[in-house]
Symmetry: C2
Subunit: 137 residues, 2 copies
Protein backbone atom coordinates (compact mmCIF):
# COMPACT_ATOMS: atom_id res chain seq x y z
CA UNK A 1 0.00 0.00 0.00
CA UNK A 2 1.19 3.52 -0.76
CA UNK A 3 2.54 5.61 2.07
CA UNK A 4 0.86 9.01 2.44
CA UNK A 5 2.98 11.89 3.72
CA UNK A 6 0.77 13.29 6.44
CA UNK A 7 1.76 15.15 9.59
CA UNK A 8 -0.35 16.27 12.51
CA UNK A 9 -1.21 20.00 12.51
CA UNK A 10 -2.01 20.02 16.22
CA UNK A 11 -3.35 17.93 19.08
CA UNK A 12 -6.33 17.61 21.41
CA UNK A 13 -5.93 18.70 25.05
CA UNK A 14 -8.78 17.09 26.99
CA UNK A 15 -9.62 15.80 30.47
CA UNK A 16 -10.35 12.40 28.83
CA UNK A 17 -7.24 10.35 29.55
CA UNK A 18 -8.11 7.00 27.95
CA UNK A 19 -10.55 5.23 25.67
CA UNK A 20 -12.43 3.84 28.65
CA UNK A 21 -13.11 7.40 29.87
CA UNK A 22 -14.57 8.45 26.53
CA UNK A 23 -18.35 8.53 26.26
CA UNK A 24 -19.90 6.25 23.66
CA UNK A 25 -21.38 9.18 21.77
CA UNK A 26 -20.23 12.76 21.63
CA UNK A 27 -23.55 14.10 22.91
CA UNK A 28 -23.48 11.85 25.95
CA UNK A 29 -21.53 14.07 28.26
CA UNK A 30 -18.28 14.50 26.32
CA UNK A 31 -16.34 17.38 27.84
CA UNK A 32 -15.05 20.56 26.21
CA UNK A 33 -11.47 20.33 24.92
CA UNK A 34 -8.76 22.59 23.53
CA UNK A 35 -7.41 22.08 20.04
CA UNK A 36 -3.81 23.27 20.10
CA UNK A 37 -2.41 23.92 16.65
CA UNK A 38 1.14 24.19 15.32
CA UNK A 39 2.24 27.81 14.85
CA UNK A 40 3.22 27.01 11.23
CA UNK A 41 -0.44 26.63 10.18
CA UNK A 42 -1.96 29.32 12.44
CA UNK A 43 -2.81 31.62 9.52
CA UNK A 44 -5.29 28.98 8.31
CA UNK A 45 -7.26 29.36 11.55
CA UNK A 46 -7.88 33.08 11.27
CA UNK A 47 -11.52 32.93 10.12
CA UNK A 48 -12.69 30.50 12.83
CA UNK A 49 -14.95 32.09 15.46
CA UNK A 50 -17.14 31.09 18.41
CA UNK A 51 -20.37 29.42 17.32
CA UNK A 52 -18.91 27.94 14.12
CA UNK A 53 -19.68 24.27 13.45
CA UNK A 54 -16.60 22.43 12.22
CA UNK A 55 -15.61 18.92 11.22
CA UNK A 56 -12.51 18.04 13.18
CA UNK A 57 -10.47 15.25 11.59
CA UNK A 58 -8.20 13.37 13.97
CA UNK A 59 -5.86 10.38 14.02
CA UNK A 60 -7.14 7.89 16.61
CA UNK A 61 -3.66 6.78 17.56
CA UNK A 62 -4.72 4.30 20.21
CA UNK A 63 -6.93 2.27 17.86
CA UNK A 64 -6.20 -1.31 16.77
CA UNK A 65 -5.22 -1.15 13.09
CA UNK A 66 -5.41 -4.91 12.52
CA UNK A 67 -9.19 -4.93 13.02
CA UNK A 68 -11.24 -5.71 9.88
CA UNK A 69 -14.49 -6.94 11.50
CA UNK A 70 -16.34 -5.85 14.64
CA UNK A 71 -19.43 -6.97 16.52
CA UNK A 72 -22.01 -4.18 16.14
CA UNK A 73 -22.08 -2.04 19.30
CA UNK A 74 -19.68 -4.48 20.91
CA UNK A 75 -22.51 -7.04 21.24
CA UNK A 76 -20.90 -10.49 20.91
CA UNK A 77 -24.32 -12.05 20.24
CA UNK A 78 -24.48 -10.21 16.92
CA UNK A 79 -22.48 -11.44 13.93
CA UNK A 80 -19.34 -9.47 13.09
CA UNK A 81 -19.54 -6.79 10.40
CA UNK A 82 -16.82 -5.43 8.14
CA UNK A 83 -15.38 -2.30 9.79
CA UNK A 84 -16.04 -0.15 6.72
CA UNK A 85 -19.80 -0.49 7.38
CA UNK A 86 -19.36 0.89 10.92
CA UNK A 87 -17.98 3.86 12.84
CA UNK A 88 -15.59 1.72 14.89
CA UNK A 89 -12.34 3.47 15.82
CA UNK A 90 -10.51 0.18 15.22
CA UNK A 91 -9.72 -0.04 11.48
CA UNK A 92 -6.65 0.05 9.18
CA UNK A 93 -6.49 3.87 9.04
CA UNK A 94 -8.17 5.08 12.26
CA UNK A 95 -9.33 8.52 11.13
CA UNK A 96 -11.76 10.24 13.49
CA UNK A 97 -14.52 12.60 12.29
CA UNK A 98 -16.00 14.87 14.94
CA UNK A 99 -18.63 17.52 14.26
CA UNK A 100 -18.22 20.10 17.03
CA UNK A 101 -19.03 23.72 17.90
CA UNK A 102 -16.34 26.29 18.61
CA UNK A 103 -16.61 27.94 22.01
CA UNK A 104 -13.53 30.17 21.94
CA UNK A 105 -10.50 31.02 19.82
CA UNK A 106 -7.26 32.24 21.45
CA UNK A 107 -4.41 32.56 18.98
CA UNK A 108 -3.54 29.06 17.80
CA UNK A 109 -5.78 27.41 20.41
CA UNK A 110 -9.46 26.66 19.72
CA UNK A 111 -11.88 25.48 22.40
CA UNK A 112 -14.71 23.14 21.30
CA UNK A 113 -17.72 21.63 23.07
CA UNK A 114 -18.52 17.93 23.51
CA UNK A 115 -15.48 16.26 22.01
CA UNK A 116 -15.08 12.53 22.64
CA UNK A 117 -11.44 12.40 21.45
CA UNK A 118 -8.93 11.69 24.19
CA UNK A 119 -6.02 13.76 25.43
CA UNK A 120 -3.09 13.90 23.01
CA UNK A 121 -5.04 12.78 19.93
CA UNK A 122 -3.28 14.18 16.82
CA UNK A 123 -5.31 16.61 14.65
CA UNK A 124 -5.09 16.14 10.88
CA UNK A 125 -7.52 18.72 9.46
CA UNK A 126 -10.44 21.07 10.16
CA UNK A 127 -13.24 21.83 7.70
CA UNK A 128 -16.32 24.00 7.70
CA UNK A 129 -19.60 22.14 8.14
CA UNK A 130 -21.77 24.75 6.46
CA UNK A 131 -19.77 25.87 3.44
CA UNK A 132 -20.84 23.88 0.41
CA UNK A 133 -18.15 21.96 -1.44
CA UNK A 134 -17.97 24.57 -4.13
CA UNK A 135 -14.25 25.17 -3.70
CA UNK A 136 -13.35 21.49 -3.49
CA UNK A 137 -11.68 20.91 -6.79
CA UNK B 1 5.00 18.24 13.26
CA UNK B 2 4.51 14.55 13.97
CA UNK B 3 4.52 12.12 11.07
CA UNK B 4 1.47 9.85 10.93
CA UNK B 5 1.95 6.34 9.52
CA UNK B 6 -0.90 6.16 7.04
CA UNK B 7 -1.13 4.11 3.85
CA UNK B 8 -3.77 4.13 1.15
CA UNK B 9 -6.20 1.19 1.33
CA UNK B 10 -7.23 1.61 -2.31
CA UNK B 11 -7.75 4.13 -5.07
CA UNK B 12 -10.47 5.80 -7.13
CA UNK B 13 -10.92 4.71 -10.76
CA UNK B 14 -12.91 7.47 -12.49
CA UNK B 15 -13.39 9.07 -15.90
CA UNK B 16 -12.39 12.40 -14.27
CA UNK B 17 -8.78 12.87 -15.31
CA UNK B 18 -7.90 16.21 -13.73
CA UNK B 19 -9.06 18.85 -11.27
CA UNK B 20 -10.38 21.00 -14.10
CA UNK B 21 -12.69 18.14 -15.18
CA UNK B 22 -14.17 17.79 -11.70
CA UNK B 23 -17.56 19.39 -11.10
CA UNK B 24 -17.70 22.05 -8.41
CA UNK B 25 -20.14 20.05 -6.34
CA UNK B 26 -20.71 16.33 -6.25
CA UNK B 27 -24.39 16.67 -7.14
CA UNK B 28 -23.62 18.68 -10.25
CA UNK B 29 -23.04 15.89 -12.68
CA UNK B 30 -20.16 14.01 -11.05
CA UNK B 31 -19.85 10.58 -12.66
CA UNK B 32 -19.98 7.16 -11.08
CA UNK B 33 -16.59 5.73 -10.11
CA UNK B 34 -15.06 2.48 -8.93
CA UNK B 35 -13.32 2.25 -5.58
CA UNK B 36 -10.65 -0.42 -5.94
CA UNK B 37 -9.39 -1.71 -2.61
CA UNK B 38 -6.23 -3.57 -1.61
CA UNK B 39 -6.82 -7.31 -1.16
CA UNK B 40 -5.27 -7.09 2.34
CA UNK B 41 -8.27 -5.15 3.71
CA UNK B 42 -11.02 -6.81 1.66
CA UNK B 43 -12.56 -8.55 4.68
CA UNK B 44 -13.46 -5.13 6.06
CA UNK B 45 -15.68 -4.49 3.01
CA UNK B 46 -17.88 -7.55 3.41
CA UNK B 47 -20.96 -5.81 4.89
CA UNK B 48 -21.15 -3.06 2.25
CA UNK B 49 -24.09 -3.40 -0.13
CA UNK B 50 -25.85 -1.47 -2.89
CA UNK B 51 -27.90 1.43 -1.57
CA UNK B 52 -25.65 2.04 1.46
CA UNK B 53 -24.63 5.65 2.13
CA UNK B 54 -20.96 5.90 3.04
CA UNK B 55 -18.42 8.56 3.86
CA UNK B 56 -15.44 8.00 1.62
CA UNK B 57 -12.23 9.56 2.96
CA UNK B 58 -9.57 10.28 0.35
CA UNK B 59 -6.17 11.90 0.03
CA UNK B 60 -6.42 14.75 -2.48
CA UNK B 61 -2.91 14.19 -3.77
CA UNK B 62 -2.98 16.95 -6.37
CA UNK B 63 -3.83 19.70 -3.87
CA UNK B 64 -1.48 22.55 -2.91
CA UNK B 65 -0.36 21.88 0.66
CA UNK B 66 1.22 25.33 1.16
CA UNK B 67 -2.18 27.05 0.99
CA UNK B 68 -3.38 28.59 4.28
CA UNK B 69 -5.86 31.17 2.94
CA UNK B 70 -8.28 31.10 0.00
CA UNK B 71 -10.70 33.51 -1.63
CA UNK B 72 -14.21 32.15 -0.95
CA UNK B 73 -15.51 30.34 -4.04
CA UNK B 74 -12.42 31.49 -5.94
CA UNK B 75 -13.84 35.04 -6.06
CA UNK B 76 -10.83 37.39 -5.94
CA UNK B 77 -13.12 40.29 -5.01
CA UNK B 78 -13.80 38.65 -1.64
CA UNK B 79 -11.18 38.82 1.11
CA UNK B 80 -9.20 35.62 1.71
CA UNK B 81 -10.33 33.28 4.48
CA UNK B 82 -8.31 30.83 6.52
CA UNK B 83 -8.57 27.40 4.83
CA UNK B 84 -9.86 25.72 7.99
CA UNK B 85 -13.11 27.71 7.66
CA UNK B 86 -13.64 26.35 4.13
CA UNK B 87 -13.91 23.12 2.15
CA UNK B 88 -11.03 24.00 -0.17
CA UNK B 89 -8.99 20.99 -1.33
CA UNK B 90 -5.84 23.11 -0.97
CA UNK B 91 -4.70 22.88 2.69
CA UNK B 92 -1.80 21.39 4.70
CA UNK B 93 -3.36 17.90 4.89
CA UNK B 94 -5.69 17.62 1.87
CA UNK B 95 -8.16 15.05 3.18
CA UNK B 96 -11.30 14.65 1.08
CA UNK B 97 -14.70 13.76 2.58
CA UNK B 98 -17.28 12.44 0.10
CA UNK B 99 -20.75 11.24 1.07
CA UNK B 100 -21.79 8.81 -1.67
CA UNK B 101 -24.20 5.94 -2.37
CA UNK B 102 -23.02 2.45 -3.27
CA UNK B 103 -24.31 1.17 -6.60
CA UNK B 104 -22.56 -2.22 -6.77
CA UNK B 105 -20.05 -4.37 -4.90
CA UNK B 106 -17.86 -6.88 -6.77
CA UNK B 107 -15.24 -8.49 -4.56
CA UNK B 108 -12.79 -5.76 -3.55
CA UNK B 109 -14.29 -3.23 -6.00
CA UNK B 110 -17.15 -0.93 -4.99
CA UNK B 111 -19.03 1.27 -7.46
CA UNK B 112 -20.40 4.60 -6.17
CA UNK B 113 -22.56 7.34 -7.68
CA UNK B 114 -21.66 11.00 -8.14
CA UNK B 115 -18.07 11.10 -6.95
CA UNK B 116 -16.12 14.28 -7.71
CA UNK B 117 -12.71 12.74 -6.82
CA UNK B 118 -10.39 12.31 -9.80
CA UNK B 119 -8.84 9.16 -11.23
CA UNK B 120 -6.08 7.69 -9.11
CA UNK B 121 -7.04 9.50 -5.88
CA UNK B 122 -5.83 7.40 -2.92
CA UNK B 123 -8.52 6.09 -0.52
CA UNK B 124 -7.78 6.34 3.21
CA UNK B 125 -10.97 5.08 4.89
CA UNK B 126 -14.69 4.31 4.50
CA UNK B 127 -17.30 4.84 7.22
CA UNK B 128 -21.00 4.29 7.55
CA UNK B 129 -23.13 7.43 7.36
CA UNK B 130 -26.05 6.02 9.31
CA UNK B 131 -24.48 4.03 12.11
CA UNK B 132 -24.26 6.14 15.23
CA UNK B 133 -20.83 6.62 16.79
CA UNK B 134 -21.60 4.13 19.51
CA UNK B 135 -18.59 1.94 18.73
CA UNK B 136 -16.15 4.83 18.38
CA UNK B 137 -14.13 4.47 21.53
Amino acid sequence: MNQVDIRAIGKVVSPLASRSDAPRQSDEGAPAAWLVFEPAIAEGLRSLKPGDRIILITWLDRANRETLTVHPRGDLARPPEGVFSTRSADRPNPIGLHEVTIEAVEGNRVRVRHLEAIDGTPILDVKSVLTVDIAQR
